[in-house]
């Protein structure tokens, strides 16, 4: 957060005169860079706009948390918190299973950690479970926040998430789509969820990690 120029811009605002600086969330017209979003400007080597709201659009390689919504002949249809549903083909399951047994392995309503394998131009999303780090989430809880807050929950170089894990003895995973999985004791999970909601609300402020640290300390003192 430190290097972010925290100016709020609106769509159509002029950001720069040099088209080479156009980054994400901007567009170029007549060799000038304009914002295409309502968000915060980020000046690095390129100028980009970080959205304050919006929907998650899957892109190849993202690891997300999905919920099984339906089962068809050879696909599981997965809700990935996006305008587009994901398809998990039976062949992308780590082991060979029969079509009539699909519901045995992934039931409707189960949460899974899953990777985006392919997205085509019409946004047909193909998912895969073929990785040892992926799989069903049988314990713990899943909480949903706006995907625009994901980088803040992770923190700079993972600072925020590693702090949360360490301070609260919880196992956590943050999906690119804004769903977060937490596993630990009930008491710890309650506090993690509370903290995540604070991070979501204050995502655009500076010195957040330090403030969250203080918050956790006070909460823990109150507990003991």
């Amino acid at each position: 957060m430190d290097r972010i120029d925290r100016r709020v811009v609106i769509p159509g605002e002029l950001l720069a005169e040099d088209p080479k600086k156009a980054g994400e969330g901007t567009y170029v017209k007549d060799d000038k860079v304009y914002s295409q979003l309502y968000g915060l400007v980020n000046h690095r080597d390129k100028i980009s706009v970080i959205p304050l709201a919006g929907k998650y659009v899957p892109s190849v390689g993202d690891t997300v948390i999905g919920i099984v919504g339906d089962i068809t002949v050879s696909n599981w249809i997965i809700d990935i918190n996006s305008p587009y549903e994901g398809l998990l083909h039976i062949s992308e399951y780590p082991k060979r299973i029969e079509r009539n047994e699909m519901a045995k392995y992934l039931r409707i309503g189960s949460s899974i950690m899953i990777r985006v394998k392919d997205v085509d131009s019409t946004k047909k999303v193909e998912l895969t479970l073929n990785d040892r780090r992926l799989g069903t989430l049988n314990t713990g809880r899943v909480v949903e926040i706006s995907y625009t807050r994901v980088p803040r929950v992770i923190g700079k170089g993972g600072s925020m998430i590693s702090m949360l894990k360490k301070e609260l003895n919880c196992n956590m995973f943050v999906g690119q789509n804004g769903r977060i999985w937490v596993n630990g004791s009930d008491e710890d999970m309650d506090l993690v969820l509370k903290t995540i909601l604070i991070i979501e609300k204050e995502a655009h402020t500076t010195g957040l990690t330090d403030r969250i640290m203080d918050f956790l300390r006070t909460e823990k003192e109150a507990r003991s």
């Binding site: 769509p11 309502y38 709201a53």
Partner: protein, 246 residues
């Protein structure tokens, strides 16, 4: 015309405005929790709320476009929004207003980022006082930005009217009902017109003047829209101070 029935008194309009003056405008972004984006606007006596949902899956399915998002706009007047109770539900007029308003906003929305999806805009008129479609477009445009929908720019909208042979900005109800013409305009900040309608009679010269008048109104409204969006961010920032002390 009889002195008593004139629209002007010493060059001042019935509600105390000069001919080129807007009614007071108040815009607040992000007023609804469940909508992806929302906006409340007051333009004089008009009170309008806009909600944006999406991009989301299209239902019914056959409406979806493979290469871009579709935009749906529903303009609806509350039964209590006008003097005489309005029969609730869509009618000829609200269909028309919905269509032109959608077409006023569609050109600035970058729909190709979201193929096979829909962006739904709902505009509810709570209180009407002439110029509800322009208020609706202004609110919808802010609500779209608030929802994080990628856009080329905002759209601002304002009407010009003609009373007693004189062009005025932003007619209020009496000027609209008993005046000689009404010309709503919507445009982008660089002056691209996305909506232009007119009823009544305007000569070529009057049309030019009305356009120029409405354009000036739109420019003022654009600044208010911009401020509303930036203020929403500073409002978000406030509770954090409290939160940090807890």
């Amino acid at each position: 015309m009889d002195e008593k029935l004139s629209f002007f008194k010493d060059g001042i309009r019935l509600d105390g405005r000069r001919p080129g003056e807007l009614r007071p405008v108040k815009i607040e972004a992000g007023v609804l929790k469940r909508a992806d984006g929302s906006c409340y606007i007051e333009m004089g006596g008009n009170k309008v709320i806009a909600a944006v949902y999406g991009p989301r899956e299209v239902h019914p399915r056959h409406l979806q476009k493979v290469s871009r998002a579709i935009v749906r706009y529903r303009y609806n007047m509350a039964s209590f929004s006008v003097e005489e109770r309005k029969r609730p539900g869509p009618d000829r007029r609200s269909h028309e207003v919905s269509k032109v308003s959608r077409e006023a906003l569609e050109p600035v929305i970058l729909t190709h980022y979201f193929p096979r999806s829909v962006i739904d805009i709902f505009v509810e008129i709570l209180q009407a006082d002439a110029g509800t479609r322009t208020a609706g477009i202004n609110a919808a445009s802010v609500a779209l930005a608030d929802a994080g929908v990628p856009m080329k720019c905002l759209v601002s909208s304002c009407a010009a009217g003609k009373v007693d042979g004189q062009i005025i900005l932003d007619p209020m109800k009496d000027e609209d009902n008993f005046g000689e013409g009404d010309m709503p305009l919507a445009m982008t900040p660089d002056g691209e017109v996305t909506l232009l309608q007119a009823d009544g009679r305007f000569t070529v010269e009057e049309t030019r003047e009305a356009l120029e008048t409405a354009r000036k109104g739109c420019e003022q409204i654009y600044e208010i829209q911009k401020k509303a969006l930036i203020d929403r961010y500073s409002r978000l920032e406030e509770p954090e101070e409290e939160g940090s002390n807890v």
